[in-house]
């Protein structure tokens, strides 16, 4: 049975700009729910460069992606935004009364008066290796994640990659598979040393195979692979395989957003710079995902966009309410909302 949630605003994307939107919306007494495909807040900052320094956030000479995320989460805590992680918005429908109905791949239905798309470069999705016709095998015999270990029981499994995912699943699946071949382009791994050592022990014991090389071609039919062809320094090889697990990390794709009838420019959403509303009234887009003349893809631009968006959202959510602009430094009312007065 579907879960139904009714709120003022649904924010799609919990990266820095989306998170700051919760602050600006909260100051205006607007309740927000967040939906993100990742399993935690921070978006690109947390996923791609959690430990890398950012130097162009105002008042922070240097801050890491994770620190920025943590600070934003602390800043918005007084407004108690609700988060729905590890799910993707599948559909967005405008209802006759002007509100929106969103559904997610976790079988949830959200009803909101306003939708804010703060999805950065789009939704994170697994990187597909550049192998011809791999799509026809996906989710049948080629998988980018292990959902059910039993799908791999007694199978001939090929795992490609040298990171933690590749090594972890090599170790976890080895006891239940018929055969397992780990393929990586070099003999150095970006994974926990203990996992690498354990993998090497399994190779020495003859329980798994390790191949230096890259995946070149797949053989099979009706979605079922039977061989994986590899390019190696020693020449081309063919490995019997009934399951392939490529672990090449994540990339960003616009995803279902492209089908929502919004005016697009390349892979970005066209907005009005007065309020960052899209071509569909009530749907806003802030941060890297929007497009307007002079757009700079900077976090600080997204913060500014969030503030203007919130003012416009307030007019949609509470059309009869007169909003007086206030500063947090001087407004006792705002300070009470923040829990500091």
């Amino acid at each position: 049975m579907s879960t139904e949630i009714t709120t003022d605003v649904v924010v799609i994307g919990a990266g820095p700009c989306g998170l700051f939107a919760a602050f600006e919306l909260g100051l205006l007494d607007i309740k927000s729910h967040f939906i993100d495909i990742l399993d935690r807040p921070g978006g690109q900052c947390a996923e791609l460069y959690p430990e890398k320094p950012i130097y162009d956030i105002p008042a922070f000479p240097v801050v890491t992606g994770q620190q920025l995320t943590d600070n934003l989460m602390a800043q918005i805590a007084p407004f108690s935004p609700e988060f729905h992680f590890s799910r993707m918005v599948n559909s967005l429908e405008k209802l006759p009364d002007g509100s929106f109905r969103l559904t997610t791949d976790a079988d949830e239905i959200f009803h909101a008066k306003v939708v804010v798309i703060a999805a950065g470069g789009g939704s994170f999705q697994p990187k597909r290796p550049p192998v011809a016709e791999i799509e026809q095998y996906e989710n049948k015999s080629v998988f980018y994640a292990v959902r059910k270990m039993d799908d791999f029981r007694d199978q001939d499994v090929v795992i490609v990659g040298g990171g933690d995912s590749a090594l972890d699943w090599t170790l976890n699946l080895q006891p239940i598979v018929r055969s397992l071949t780990l393929v990586h382009r070099r003999d150095a791994f970006k994974a926990a040393p203990a996992s690498v050592n354990k993998m090497k022990e399994l190779v020495m014991e003859g329980k798994i195979q390790f191949m230096l090389g890259q995946i070149a071609k797949l053989d099979g039919k009706d979605g079922q692979i039977d061989h994986v062809h590899l390019t190696t320094d020693a020449g081309d090889l063919s490995v019997p395989a009934t399951r392939l697990l490529p672990f090449f990390g994540l990339t960003m794709k616009l995803g279902p957003v492209a089908d929502w009838g919004l005016e697009l420019n390349d892979n970005t959403i066209v907005v009005d710079t007065e309020n960052f509303e899209t071509s569909v009234p009530g749907i806003f887009a802030i941060g890297d995902i929007n497009h307007y003349p002079g757009k700079l893809k900077l976090i600080l631009s997204g913060f500014h966009e969030a503030a203007l968006m919130a003012q416009a959202a307030k007019k949609i959510i509470s059309p009869d309410e007169r909003v007086v602009f206030q500063y947090t430094t001087s407004s006792t009312k705002l300070q009470k909302k923040l829990g500091v007065a």
Partner: protein, 106 residues
């Protein structure tokens, strides 16, 4: 200074490269088919190029961190580099690179 870029379709482009710019930035700003998702943070490998053989020495070797990122694409060759890690300077005037399939936008 110039850089010569062959795109994924085999078309050649002569681009104006500016001293101190990353090769990725030059390719991206000229509108070629390069995703450059992370903007130069060495976090994505979507600015992957093949450096022409005669330029390999002048471009230098990738760092360990760059090698780690190259693990996340499946079309690595011995002359693979991430173009965000190549800084334009006088010595690279005339550099020739080819965009890797994995650098393409969606």
């Amino acid at each position: 200074m110039k850089i010569h870029v062959t795109d994924q379709a085999g078309e050649n482009h002569e681009l104006e490269g500016l001293e101190g710019w990353r090769v990725m930035e030059v390719i991206r700003d000229w509108g070629l088919n390069i995703k450059a998702e992370c903007g130069g943070a060495l976090s994505c490998a979507t600015c992957h190029v093949y450096v022409d053989g005669e330029w390999m020495d002048r471009v230098g070797a990738p760092s360990d961190e760059e090698e780690d990122m190259l693990d996340s694409v499946g079309d690595v060759k011995s002359n693979s580099r991430l173009s965000c890690q190549i800084l334009m300077n006088e010595e690279l005037d005339g550099l020739r690179v080819t965009l890797a399939p994995s650098a393409a936008k969606d």
